[in-house]
C-alpha cells in the first residue's frame, strides 16, 4: 500500500504515465490540460526522458507517431480543438497499427468554444474523428484516482492491441484535486519486433506504413484490424454497476456526469425510487451487454451527458430500442446539477408508474 497524495487530475495522468514507462511526451499548450505538459516539462529532464513542446498539435501527434514507430511508449495530451488537429495523426497511427496514448481533457465546442468542462467529443473519440475505418480504446475516468489508473491501463492496452488508447476526460476531471494512490507500476514488455530500430544488417528492413494501393490488400488489412478490435470488444469492456440489482430506472453516465448522477441516485433511493446506474469506464468498447441485460428490468433509461446527446445513440443501440432513453444534459461548459438529474429520475419514476 503506498501513500495517498493530493493531486490535480492532469498531474495524476502525467505521473502515472511516467510510472507506466512513458519517457516521451509531446504537446502544445491548450486550456484546460496544460498542467500535463507543465508536469512533464519538470519531470522528464530529471529522469532521462524527453519533453518537447511542439510547434503545433499536428507536429506533436506526428512526433508521437515517430516514437511509437520506434517502439517506445509515448503520449500527447490536448483539449478538444487540439484533438481535432491531431485527428489526422490518429488516423495514421491506426493505419500503421502503432500503439499510442492520447489524452483529451474536453472543453466546450464547437470551434474555439469555451474553456469550461464538456463531454461533447464523445462522437469524435468513439466513432473515429479522423478519416477511415478505425477505433480507439476510449477510457472515461470519473475520479483523480481513475485518471491515474486508467492511464496505466491505457498504455498496456495500446501496446497489447497496437492501437491508440485515449483518456476522454473533461475540464473538471483535469482540474479537480483528490487523494490518489500511485505506487509502483510493473511495466509489461510487449513484442515490438515490427518497430524501426535499425536493421543492424541482421534482418530485412521494417516498414511502418499506412499506404496500401492494392484494394484487395487494403481490404484484408482492414479486416485484420477489425479482428483485433473484436478481441478488444470481447475482452476489455469496463463499467461500474451501481445499485442496479432491483433498478427500474437506469442512469447511464460517465466522467463528471456520473459523479453528479450518483448524488442524485442516492437522493432518489432515500425517496424509495428504484434507480441505479451503469457507468461506462470504456466508452469504446461500449458496455453493450450489461445495458441490454438492464433493459430486462429497467423501464426507463436516462443518458446524462454534457453534450447535445451523443452517448444516447449508443445506449439506444445497446438496448435495441427496447425501452425509452431520455437525455439529461447541459452543454457549453455547464455541468448538470444533482437536482436536475434527480428531477429527471422523479419524472421517469412517475412516467414508469403511469404506464
Amino acid at each position: 500500500m503506498s501513500e495517498k497524495v493530493l493531486m490535480k487530475g492532469n498531474e495524476a495522468i502525467a505521473e502515472a504515465a511516467i510510472r507506466a514507462g512513458c519517457r516521451h511526451y509531446f504537446g502544445y499548450p491548450i486550456t484546460p490540460q496544460t498542467e500535463v505538459a507543465a508536469y512533464m516539462a519538470k519531470r522528464m529532464p530529471k529522469i532521462g526522458g524527453c519533453f518537447l513542446q511542439a510547434e503545433s498539435e499536428i507536429a506533436a501527434i506526428n512526433m508521437v507517431y515517430g516514437v511509437a514507430g520506434a517502439g517506445k511508449r509515448v503520449m500527447t495530451s490536448s483539449s478538444s480543438p487540439g484533438i481535432s488537429l491531431k485527428s489526422e495523426g490518429l488516423s495514421y497511427l491506426a493505419g500503421s497499427d502503432l500503439p499510442a496514448f492520447v489524452v483529451n481533457v474536453q472543453r466546450g465546442g464547437p470551434g474555439l468554444g469555451g474553456i469550461q468542462p464538456s463531454q461533447s467529443d464523445y462522437f469524435q473519440a468513439t466513432k473515429g474523428g479522423g478519416h477511415g475505418d478505425y477505433k480507439m480504446i476510449v477510457l472515461a475516468p470519473a475520479s483523480v484516482q481513475e485518471m491515474a489508473s486508467l492511464t496505466i491501463k491505457g498504455f498496456d492496452l495500446a501496446d497489447k492491441y497496437r492501437m491508440t488508447a485515449m483518456i476522454l476526460a473533461d475540464g473538471t476531471m483535469g482540474q479537480m484535486m483528490e487523494p490518489v494512490e500511485l505506487g509502483d507500476v510493473e511495466v509489461k514488455e510487449y513484442d515490438k519486433s515490427w518497430a524501426v530500430t535499425g536493421t543492424k544488417c541482421r534482418r530485412a528492413h521494417n516498414i511502418v506504413n499506412s499506404l496500401s494501393l492494392v484494394p484487395e490488400e487494403l481490404e484484408q488489412l482492414n479486416f485484420a484490424r477489425y479482428e483485433r478490435y473484436k478481441a478488444v470488444e470481447e475482452n476489455e469492456v469496463m463499467y461500474e454497476s451501481y445499485l442496479m440489482d432491483d433498478a427500474e430506472i437506469c442512469v447511464v453516465a460517465f466522467g463528471i456526469s456520473a459523479r453528479v448522477s450518483k448524488n442524485a441516485i442516492n437522493e432518489a433511493r432515500k425517496n424509495g425510487i428504484k434507480v441505479g446506474m451503469i457507468r461506462p469506464i470504456t466508452l469504446w468498447p461500449f458496455p453493450k451487454a450489461p445495458l441490454l441485460a438492464a433493459a430486462e428490468h429497467c423501464l426507463t433509461f436516462l443518458s446524462v451527458e454534457m453534450n447535445m446527446g451523443q452517448m444516447i445513440e449508443d445506449i439506444e443501440l445497446a438496448i435495441r430500442c427496447k425501452r425509452p432513453v431520455q437525455l439529461v444534459n447541459r452543454v457549453g461548459g455547464m455541468i448538470p446539477s444533482p437536482e436536475q438529474v434527480l428531477q429527471a429520475i422523479e419524472e421517469a419514476d412517475k412516467g414508469g408508474k403511469a404506464s
Binding site: Y65, V67, E88, V196, R202, H205, L211
Partner: protein, 252 residues
Amino acid sequence: MIVFQKPKSLCDVPLHYCPGCTHGIIHRLVAEAIDELGIEGDTIGVAPVGCAVMAYNYFNCDMVEAAHGRAPAVATGIKRADPSKIVFSYQGDGDLASIGTAETVHSATRNENITVIFVNNAIYGMTGGQMAPTTLPGQVTQTSPYGRDVKQCGYPVKISEMLSQLEGPEYIERVAVNNVKNVRAAKKAIKKAFQNQIDGKGFSLIEVISSCPTNWGMSPEKALGWLEENMIPYYPLGVYKDRSAGKEAEAK
C-alpha cells in the same frame, strides 16, 4: 574488379519513377552516402507523401511512411526515441515547402539532429503536375495554366535562403543533379549532411534541384536543359549555411 554496383542501401526492386526522373539519381546518392559511412544498420528513413512516397520500399534500412508534410516531426520522434540512430527524411517541394512548412522550419530552428533531403522540381508530380510552392513565376502547370501569376498566387518559396536565416540549423546547401559535375557535388553535400548527424552537429538540409520531364512536358534531356536555364538562376546553388565552418549565407 567490381567498379560499379548497386549500393547495399538500395533494395533490389524496380523503382516506379517516370523515365528520366532524377529521383533515381538522388536515391542512389543517399544510398551511396549511407553505404560509405557504414551506417545502413542504424539508419531509419522517413518517406514523404508525393512522388517519393514509396521510398520505403527502395531504401534497404528501416523506413517509416509519414503523413503529408510531417516527415520532420516524425523524424524528430524517431531521433528522440533513440538518438544513437541516424534519421533522415526524403521530401519533395509540396511536402516540405507547402503543407509541411511549419514542421520544416521548426525542426530546423530546434537544430534537430536529423538529415533532410529536399527534392525541388518545382511541381507536384504524383498528382499530375500542379503548381508547387517552388513553381517559377510564369511557369505553366495544371493549376497555373496561364503561367504562375505572382500577383495572384505569390512568389516561390526559397527554402535554403529562408532556413539559413535561422540561428538553429547546422548545414544548408543547395545542389542540382543535371550534369555529372553537379551530381558529384550533390553526393558530397549529402554525405556531409549525414556526417554532420553522426558528429552530433544537428540539422542538415540538402535542397536538390531536380527535373520532372513528365509533368514539365519535356524529354528528359530537354528538362535538364530547362532546369539549368531556368531553375538554377532562380535557385542559386551553393552552401547557404555551415555553422561549424562559420559560414552564413554564401551562395555561389
